[in-house]
């Protein structure tokens, strides 16, 4: 029995069919992610980080190889709503109030209105958005919108959370606050997180392991273990280990840049 939340074996993804527009986005990816890990994926632009995340979520299908989520085929896992996803933008529906946005996944599952609203309220409390249930998305700041999106991704209580550069559009201060928020949720819910980012600081602060990728074709260069104590707080950023890991990731990224075509 496969105990891993995610296991990818020899996965490749090729875009385009004819030989002149063929791009190998990912090549021979082997990756296993254990329960309650926090994995960051980092690499130069065009290295296929987002593609990797979308393969796990079965938003695209691999050209070859095998992807399992919770021991099931990725496709089945998606049908079972086994994961929640947070995108680069909040993608809240502007015609729905925040409460209806957060309860959308439950609505799609056919959960009763009263039950799904109770759940949505609880999640909004968790991301500190109490009192904004009846607001429309445009009435919220960018950071608040992304917190609502995180609440929505947790609505079905998934074991796996896929996050695609969720804080890339936010300013530095908001981003650091959001990082604390994500860690809190990670500890509270025991969820497994796969987090795509291009901020080294963010990756080191959040992760238990960091996957460094190279581009053209996208490959895993190295996986850096982050042996920082949990729970993490502001002091973590001043630890010697923090700087050591940050340097290590930076060196691997430099190698990845050289390696990339």
């Amino acid at each position: 029995m496969d105990q891993n939340v995610v296991s990818m074996t020899n996965v490749s993804k090729v875009f385009g069919e004819s030989s002149n527009n063929k791009t190998i986005a990912l090549q021979n990816i082997d990756l296993t992610i254990a329960p309650n890990e926090f994995i960051s994926i980092i690499g130069p632009s065009g290295c296929g980080k987002s593609t990797l995340l979308r393969l796990i979520g079965d938003l695209i299908t691999p050209s070859s190889g095998d992807i399992r989520v919770n021991g099931k085929q990725a496709h089945q896992a998606r049908l079972d709503q086994d994961y929640g996803m947070v995108f680069q933008a909040p993608v809240l529906f502007e015609w729905r109030r925040i409460l209806q946005n957060v309860s959308l996944p439950l609505e799609l599952r056919g959960v009763k209105k009263k039950d799904r609203e109770t759940q949505a309220r609880r999640l909004l409390g968790m991301v500190e958005l109490n009192g904004f249930e009846d607001h429309y998305p445009w009435q919220l700041s960018g950071g608040m919108q992304q917190r609502a999106a995180i609440a929505r991704s947790l609505a079905t209580q998934p074991q796996l959370l896929l996050m695609d550069e969720p804080f890339g559009a936010l300013d530095e201060m908001t981003r650091e606050r959001m990082n604390m928020e994500v860690l809190k949720i990670w500890e509270q819910t025991q969820v497994t997180v796969v987090f795509v980012t291009h901020s080294i600081a963010e990756a080191v602060f959040l992760s238990t392991r960091i996957v460094v990728m190279s581009a053209r074709p996208g490959r895993i260069m190295h996986i850096v273990d982050v042996d920082l104590p949990v729970p993490r707080d502001e002091q973590t950023r001043e630890m010697e280990t923090y700087f050591r890991v940050e340097t290590e990731v930076r060196e691997w990224l430099r190698k990845a840049e050289e390696y990339s075509g």
Binding site: R54, G57, L59, R78, L79, D80, Q81, Y83, G84, M85, F87, Q88, A89, P90, V91, L92, F93, E94, W95, L104, P105, E107, L108, R109, Y136, P137, W138, G142, Q145, T156, A169
Partner: protein, 292 residues
């Protein structure tokens, strides 16, 4: 927006409308002052005599009746011992509006259906779209007699002609609107294994609404034009099309009557437009584009 702000906005709107109306009046009568026929004291509200220095053909009393003559025409019987023209035109306007409304509804439903089908079946879109576009290049005046032959002369065939003008903008905009959602929003629905049906009603259709309302506004005015034109070859005399045809024939004996009919026709189109605008406000007033 507070209630008082809303009233202020409405007041400003009415004021600007009135300003334009006054401007049109001034240009119109100014043209007649400079180059129209002689003003006789018993035929203008000022009671003055004035001999314009120039004579423009376009500003003669036949080609461009005085605004007050058009206004007075509403109150006078169109025919000896008949009811006042206003009564006839209101009846005609209601008749034509019914045709336009039925045509608009048929066209809107057809347009929405085609838009939804084309979004989900690309092959159907590729196959049918050229014919949909082609249908609009055939002049309505060529189509109308055929529709009347098929369906017999009557308000139903006029409604079908109105629908013919209506469905096209609705089809095109629905198609565009249903494809407008952010790719990430579509991925979000996919990540939750939402069915095509759920994706249609919970994402695509709400996203398409602003586009659809734009199309409905075009369709509302087009349906009035379609209804008026549809009446011409069908020999229907009860609507505005019939009235235009009639007063056109007797233009020389009463030019103001045709002008009055044109004004009423424009009002029907404007009224329909305002109804759709109000519906749009009801449905969409809570929406604002979301900042990043």
């Amino acid at each position: 927006m507070s209630t008082s702000q809303r009233y202020a906005k409405l007041l400003r709107q009415i004021l600007s409308l009135l300003t334009i109306l006054v401007l049109i009046f001034l240009v119109w009568e100014g043209l007649k002052w400079v180059g129209g026929d002689i003003w006789r004291p018993d035929q203008n509200p000022l009671g003055i005599t004035h001999d314009p220095p120039l004579r423009f053909k376009i500003a003669s009393d036949l080609n461009l009746p005085h605004t007050w003559d058009i206004g007075a025409a509403f109150g006078r019987p169109a025919r000896r011992n008949g009811p006042p023209l206003a009564n006839i035109l209101i009846g005609a306007a209601l008749f034509t509006f019914r045709e336009a409304l039925v045509g608009f509804t048929i066209g809107a439903v057809l347009g929405l259906t085609l838009g939804i089908l084309f979004t989900h079946f690309h092959l159907l879109e590729r196959g049918c779209m050229p014919y949909v576009v082609g249908s609009q290049t055939v002049p309505i005046l060529a189509i109308a007699p055929m529709v009347i032959i098929w369906l017999k002369a009557g308000w139903v065939s006029v409604a079908v002609i109105a629908a013919y003008l209506t469905f096209f903008p609705v089809t095109i905009n629905t198609l565009r609107g249903l494809r407008s959602p952010n790719p990430m929003a579509l991925e979000l629905m996919r990540s939750y294994a939402a069915s095509d049906w759920d994706t249609l009603w919970k994402l695509r259709f709400p996203s398409a609404l602003p586009y659809i309302f734009t199309a409905l506004k075009i369709a509302a005015t087009a349906s009035v034009v379609g209804a008026i034109i549809g009446e011409l070859p069908s020999g229907i005399r009860s609507g505005l099309g019939g009235a235009i045809l009639n007063f056109n024939q007797y233009y020389i004996s009463g030019p103001a009557k045709l002008w009055a009919t044109i004004i009423v026709s424009a009002f029907v189109g404007i009224a329909f437009y305002i109804i759709i605008n109000a519906a749009e406000w009801l449905v969409l007033h809570n929406r604002r584009p979301t900042r990043g």
